[in-house]
C-alpha cells in the first residue's frame, strides 16, 4: 500500500463517510479506512438521525437509505419514582417528505452510507487500525496502519476516529478528556412486533416516537434516559457523565436495568426480547472541550472534535456537516495545491460559523452548570411531579387553598432567593 492518495479518511462513521463521499464525488482520490469488520460495527448511537444535514450531501437519501421510522412525536418525561410529568410535540407534517428525523440502526445505516462513498469512487478498507499519523517537517503526510507494509500517504488526512480520538491526542490536538467531558451511555435493542409498538406508542405504521427521560432515569445524576421506536424493536438506554458514575459508584448496566424495570417504563417494553446490548462514550464537553481541529495536512471532524450538542441530542448531523465542510475545504486546497494549516483553516472558520459552532457556543456552559448544580435533577423534577400530583388530585380542597398549599410545600426547606438564583442560572446557560 505505498500508493499516494489525495486524501485519507480515518473512520467510516457519519463524519468520515461524509468527507469521503463529498471528496470522491468531486473526483479526488480518496482512501477511507475503517477499523471494524464493516462500517457501523464499532458505532453506537441512541438512534436518532436528522434529515437536513444528510440531505445536503445526498439529496433525497431517505428514499433508499435503511431507516427505521420517521419520528412524528418527541416526548419529554420528567420522571419521579412512581410518576412522570410529560410534555412533547406530535406533528404529522413530520410523517411526510421531506421528514425531520428518523430512527436508525447504525450498523445498517453506516454500511449503506459508506457504500455510497464507494459508489462515488472512494476506496474503502475495513479491518484496519490506523496506529499513527506519519508526520514530516511538522506536516501530516500519511498514516501508519496495523497491516504489513501498512504506510499510506496523502496530501491531507481527515481524522474521524471518534470520541476516543487517539490520533487527535497523539498529534497533540488535545489532552486526555476529563470524566466530566464524556457521558457513558449504555443501551439495549429490544425486539418487539410492529403492531405492539404502534399500539403502545399510539402510532400508525411507519411513524415513530422518541422519549427523552430526565430525573429518576439516572437517579438524579446528570444524564438522560431514552426510548426510541424502530420498525420492530425499541432502543432503550441511559447515559450519564462518567464523573457522575464515578462519584455515585454506579454501574451503567444497573442504571439501565433500573430504567427498564421502572413502573412507568415497564409496560412499554413488556414481552420484548433483548437483541443487543451496547455501550459507548458521548463527547459532551462541548465548545470548551473542543480540541484543535486543523493542522498542516490534517483536519479533525465529528466526535473526535467533540462536535455533539448533548442538550439537543444532536451529533451525527453535526458530524456530517463537519465532514462536508472539511471536504469542501480540501477540494479548494487541492485546486490551490496548498495543504497548509493556513489554507485548511477555512474549514474551521466555516464550521464555527455554521450551526455546529454556533450551537456549541450557545450551550458552552450548560453541561458544566448542570453537573455542578445537581438540584435541577435532584430537587426540581421530584418537585414538579409532586405539584402535578397534588394539583390533579381532587380531594375537596378549594383550588385557591390548593395552590397555596402546593406553593408552600414546594418552597419548604428551600430559600426563595436560592430558587430564583437557580432559575436565573438555568436561563443564562440555555438562552
Amino acid at each position: 500500500m505505498s500508493e499516494k492518495f489525495d486524501a485519507i479518511v480515518v473512520g467510516a462513521g457519519p463524519a468520515g463517510t461524509s468527507a469521503a463521499y463529498v471528496m470522491a464525488k468531486a473526483g479526488l482520490n480518496v482512501l477511507l479506512i475503517e477499523r471494524g469488520e464493516y462500517p457501523g460495527s464499532k458505532n453506537v448511537m441512541g438512534g436518532v438521525l436528522y434529515r437536513h444535514q444528510m440531505d445536503e450531501i445526498i439529496p433525497g437519501f431517505y428514499k433508499e437509505a435503511p431507516l427505521e421510522r420517521p419520528i412524528v412525536e418527541q416526548r419529554f418525561w420528567m420522571m419521579g419514582e412512581e410518576s412522570v410529568f410529560t410534555s412533547g410535540y406530535k406533528g404529522l407534517e413530520w410523517s411526510k417528505e421531506p421528514y425531520n428525523n428518523f430512527t436508525v440502526l447504525r450498523a445498517k445505516f453506516d454500511q449503506w452510507y459508506a457504500n455510497k462513498a464507494v459508489e462515488a469512487g472512494a476506496l474503502l478498507i475495513n479491518e484496519t487500525v490506523v496506529t499513527e499519523c506519519i508526520v514530516e517537517d511538522g506536516r501530516v503526510i500519511g498514516v501508519r496502519t496495523d497491516r504489513p507494509d501498512g504506510d499510506v500517504y496523502a496530501d491531507v488526512v481527515v481524522i474521524a476516529d471518534g470520541v476516543n480520538s487517539l490520533l487527535g491526542k497523539s498529534l497533540g490536538f488535545h489532552k486526555e478528556f476529563k470524566p466530566s467531558d464524556v457521558a457513558l451511555a449504555v443501551m439495549e435493542v429490544i425486539d418487539l412486533p410492529a403492531e405492539k409498538i404502534e399500539d403502545r406508542f399510539n402510532l400508525e405504521p411507519n411513524q415513530g416516537t422518541t422519549i427523552e427521560i430526565f430525573g429518576d432515569a439516572t437517579k438524579g445524576i446528570l444524564g438522560t434516559g431514552f426510548i426510541y421506536t424502530n420498525k420492530e424493536s425499541i432502543n432503550i438506554g441511559v447515559g450519564a457523565t462518567l464523573s457522575g458514575m464515578i462519584k455515585h459508584r454506579l454501574r451503567p448496566y444497573d442504571l439501565l436495568d433500573y430504567l427498564k424495570s421502572h413502573p412507568i417504563v415497564r409496560p412499554l417494553i413488556r414481552g420484548g426480547e433483548p437483541a443487543e446490548y451496547a455501550a459507548h462514550l458521548i463527547p459532551e464537553g462541548g465548545y470548551n472541550a473542543m480540541p484543535k481541529i486543523v493542522g498542516n495536512g490534517v483536519v479533525l471532524v465529528g466526535d473526535a472534535g467533540q462536535m455533539v450538542n448533548g442538550i439537543h441530542r444532536e451529533g451525527s448531523n453535526m458530524a456530517m456537516t463537519a465532514g462536508r465542510l472539511a471536504a469542501e475545504t480540501i477540494i479548494l486546497a487541492k485546486q490551490a495545491n496548498d495543504f497548509s494549516e493556513n489554507m485548511l483553516d477555512t474549514y474551521r472558520v466555516r464550521l464555527l460559523d455554521s450551526f455546529v459552532g454556533r450551537d456549541l457556543k450557545k450551550y458552552k456552559d450548560a453541561t458544566h452548570t448542570f453537573e455542578t448544580h445537581p438540584q435541577y435533577f435532584n430537587d426540581y423534577i421530584p418537585m414538579i411531579n409532586k405539584a402535578a400530583s397534588q394539583f390533579f388530585t381532587i380531594d375537596g380542597m378549594p383550588k385557591k387553598d390548593k395552590q397555596q398549599k402546593i406553593f408552600r410545600s414546594l418552597t419548604e426547606g428551600k430559600s426563595k432567593l436560592g430558587m430564583v438564583q437557580d432559575i436565573y442560572r438555568a436561563w443564562k446557560v440555555m438562552r
Partner: protein, 104 residues
C-alpha cells in the same frame, strides 16, 4: 443513598452476563488493555472504580490483582478516561477484531 444501596433495590431484567451474550466478539489472542502497575490498584484505589463503571465488567479485582477480561470489551474508552491514576493503557484491538455490533 449511593451506588450499591440504590441498586440493590433494582429488579434485574437480565444480568450483565446475559446482555454480553447478545454480542458478537472476534477476540484477538492478545489483550488490547493493560493495567500498567498492579500495585497502584492494590494500594491507591480502594474503590477499584474500573470494576464498577466498566459497561462490560472487563475489570475484576481478584484479591490481589486486577484481572482484565478484554474479550468482552466494548471499546468505549471509559476505563482509560475514568481511571483516577491513569493506570490503564488503552488501545484499539487489531483491525477487524474486538466487538462487532450488528444493530446499535
Amino acid at each position: 443513598m449511593e451506588g450499591d444501596e440504590i441498586m440493590s433495590l433494582v429488579p434485574r431484567t437480565n444480568t450483565l452476563e446475559e446482555k454480553q451474550y447478545l454480542l458478537r466478539y472476534r477476540a484477538d489472542s492478545q489483550s488490547h488493555l493493560h493495567v500498567l502497575d498492579n500495585d497502584v490498584c492494590a494500594t491507591s484505589c480502594p474503590d477499584k472504580l474500573c470494576t464498577l463503571f466498566c459497561p462490560g465488567e472487563v475489570y475484576k479485582w481478584e484479591g490481589k490483582r486486577m484481572s482484565v477480561g478484554y474479550e468482552g470489551c466494548h471499546e468505549c474508552g471509559s476505563c482509560r478516561i475514568g481511571c483516577p491514576y491513569e493506570n490503564i493503557k488503552w488501545e484499539y484491538p487489531k483491525g477487524g477484531h474486538g466487538i462487532v455490533f450488528r444493530l446499535a
